[in-house]
Amino acid sequence: MTVAHVALLTEEEPRSAELTVTGEIDLSNADQVRDELYRSIANDLMYVSVNLTDVSYMDSSGLRVLFMLAERLQRLQTELAVVAPPGTPARRILELAGFDAVATLRP
């Protein structure tokens, strides 16, 4: 069983949200991760960051979730940043897929 957790960390800035995903993302739970991310993001936000530092595995099903999220937030005119320090599994995959073209990639 593949397990991931999505947590809404802080809302210090009223119009921004910081989300953290931990665990693994693959075919078996990508839809669930997507739904939890969508549920945590309100439509009045200016800025959303998704922290993937503690994601220990992610493949193209995780990429699909993030690309779709980027697309939707672009439509809502909400800025998206993805946090993944160099050396993490998520960073490697995001870089290879050229994710920095659709959202900010931060260490």
């Binding site: 069983m1 593949t2 397990v3 693994e24 693959d26 075919l27 078996s28 739970n29 595995y57 992610m58 493949d59 193209s60 099903s61 990429l63 699909r64 690309f67 779709m68 599994p89 490697r92 995959i93 290879l96 897929a97």
Partner: protein, 533 residues
């Protein structure tokens, strides 16, 4: 002459004995009691004859059989044994009681006065000094019970109590054994790189006890091993065993520290099974298999047998058993290195304890007997030399786990169901195997994605709704890992938006990647060098 005095007392008892003899041995307890009660009622010219037995809590009497008042059984009528009314008083005093007024002030069960009973005679059911329940007879007419009736019913109750006791013991033993059979895993999980075998042998002294072993994988790829022994015998110990087994599994899901799991289990037992105690050995193996983390709750130390070397009993601190006893104290976890080829033997005390031999001698003998090797043969050998043909008093549970020796050209072969849930199992197996062939953390991250994407492709595209399987086959040399992911399905390209990135990722992450389709299915060939990123 009243009917109840017909025939001598001896004649009448013979009619009870006929009922308790072997001709009725096959009857279930309820049917046997009904048969007996029919005869007792007839012999005493009574209108009802009823048996109430203690329930599992020991606090209530439950109507188990009746002649003339079956509705009490159907309605599950029960009374507290501490009560001051009819059945409760018999349970407390363990003396016969005659009642000539039946109403809410004298009996707890309203069915009795609804039935119109005007006089009651009850006696305790006692076998081998153990109180089992109450037998009572009642009349609706004018008949009053006499001292002669009391004497007869007491003797009849002894017969009923003996028959009940035997029947309860037999069925308890059968139930406990079948619980053991259900819960002791028939098949141990398959873990690439480990070889496992187990034995369970019930003792001959008094049916099964509460020994168990359990092996399960966690989503994180860690492997958990439990061997435990609930103090006590029979159905009670076996049912507590089943609950502890489940409790360990639940706590294991949420903790990476064996001492923490056993601390929670201790709290669980103290709260939910206050009278029980158990010894438990709980180990967690790292996914790489090179180390095991172990916590012992009053349980004997496992034997460690390195390849081609004498076995030893490692120095591991032993904390108190879980359950009844002293104030809870902090528990400890010990990390133990497990070299390739080393066998670890977990067991319960029945393997080494004999009446005529000190425990230390039993442990020393076990240490001399254990040699690392294939685990099925190891278990057979240990049982042969530790048990042989001697009858054993206690149950024995034995679990041998051996880390397979390093092969010259290491290989990994896995066959998996083409379902999304297989991906996590596959990654756990790769996380165990890849470090053993010299892959760095970066190599592992990349290979997990290459092989994970290949597996996900099979799962999403290869088969129709009926599903299928796929096979992963890898070989490693010093410089690289190569192999295939193969299915027997029909290739179908990806559908939908934002799909198809998987193949691109596989190409980017590997040194060589080919996808070939033919009538037999699809094969992905992959090769990736090690230590180069």
């Amino acid at each position: 002459m009243p009917k109840s005095h017909a025939g001598s007392a001896t004649d009448r008892l013979e009619r009870i004995d006929v009922v308790t003899d072997s001709a009725l041995a096959h009857l279930e307890i309820e049917r046997l009691l009904e048969e007996l009660l029919d005869r007792i009622r007839e012999l005493l010219a009574a209108d009802t004859a009823t048996v109430l037995l203690l329930d599992s809590s020991g606090q209530h009497l439950v109507t188990r059989a009746s002649s003339g008042m079956k509705e009490a059984v159907r309605q599950g009528a029960r009374v507290r044994i501490s009560g001051s009314r009819f059945a409760g008083r018999i349970a407390t005093t363990r003396e016969p009681l005659i009642l000539d007024r039946v109403d809410e002030t004298t009996v707890a069960n309203p069915l009795l006065w609804h039935r119109g009973i005007r006089s009651l005679l009850g006696v305790p059911l006692i076998a081998n000094d153990e109180f089992l329940g109450v037998l009572h007879v009642g009349t609706v007419g004018d008949r009053r019970f006499t001292d002669t009736d009391v004497d007869f019913l007491r003797v009849a109750a002894d017969r009923v109590a003996m028959a009940t006791r035997n029947r309860i013991t037999d069925s308890g033993r059968a139930a406990a054994l079948s619980l053991q059979r259900t819960l002791i895993p028939g098949l141990l999980p398959e873990v690439a790189g480990l070889d496992m075998a187990a034995r369970y042998a019930p003792g001959e002294a008094g049916g099964v006890s509460g020994d168990w072993y359990d092996v399960f994988k966690l989503p994180s790829g860690w492997l958990c091993v439990t061997v435990g022994d609930v103090v006590g015998r029979g159905l009670d110990a076996a049912t507590v065993m089943t609950r502890l087994r489940t409790a360990v599994r639940s706590y294991a899901l949420d903790s990476a520290d064996p001492a923490e799991v056993l601390t929670k289990l201790d709290r669980h037992v103290r709260h939910f099974e206050p009278q029980m105690m158990a010894t438990v050995s709980y180990a967690m193996w790292e996914p790489s298999l090179c180390r095991m983390h172990l916590s012992l709750a009053g349980h004997l130390t496992p034997v460690m047998a390195p390849d081609n070397a004498p076995a030893e009993l490692p120095e591991i601190p032993i904390d108190p058993p879980v359950g009844a006893g002293l104030v809870p104290r902090p528990r400890r976890t010990t990390a133990v290195d497990v070299e390739p080829g080393t066998a670890v033997l977990f067991y319960t005390d029945g393997l080494v304890e004999r009446r005529n031999r000190p425990l230390d001698d039993g442990l020393a003998l076990l240490r001399d007997v254990v040699r690392s090797g294939p685990t099925e043969a190891l278990c057979s050998d240990v049982m042969l030399r530790m048990v042989g043909t001697d009858p054993t008093d206690d149950d024995i549970a034995l679990l041998a786990i051996r880390r397979e020796p390093d092969a010259a050209a290491p290989e990994l072969t896995l066959t998996l169901e083409a379902v999304p849930e297989s991906l996590a199992d596959m990654r756990a197996a790769l996380r165990r195997w890849l470090p053993t062939v010299g892959a760095t953390d970066d190599d592992i991250d990349d290979l997990l994605v290459i092989i994970g994407e290949a597996g996900a492709n099979v799962i999403e595209h290869a088969y129709g709704p009926g599903g299928g399987r796929f096979e992963l086959r890898l070989t490693a040399t010093e410089a690289q890992v190569e192999g295939t992911v193969r299915d027997q399905g029909n290739w179908r390209s990806a559908r939908g938006t934002n799909r198809g990135r998987g193949t691109q990722l596989m190409q980017q992450l590997s040194d060589e990647l080919r996808i070939e389709h033919d009538n037999g299915g699809t094969t992905v060939y992959l090769r990736r060098s090690l230590g180069n990123r």
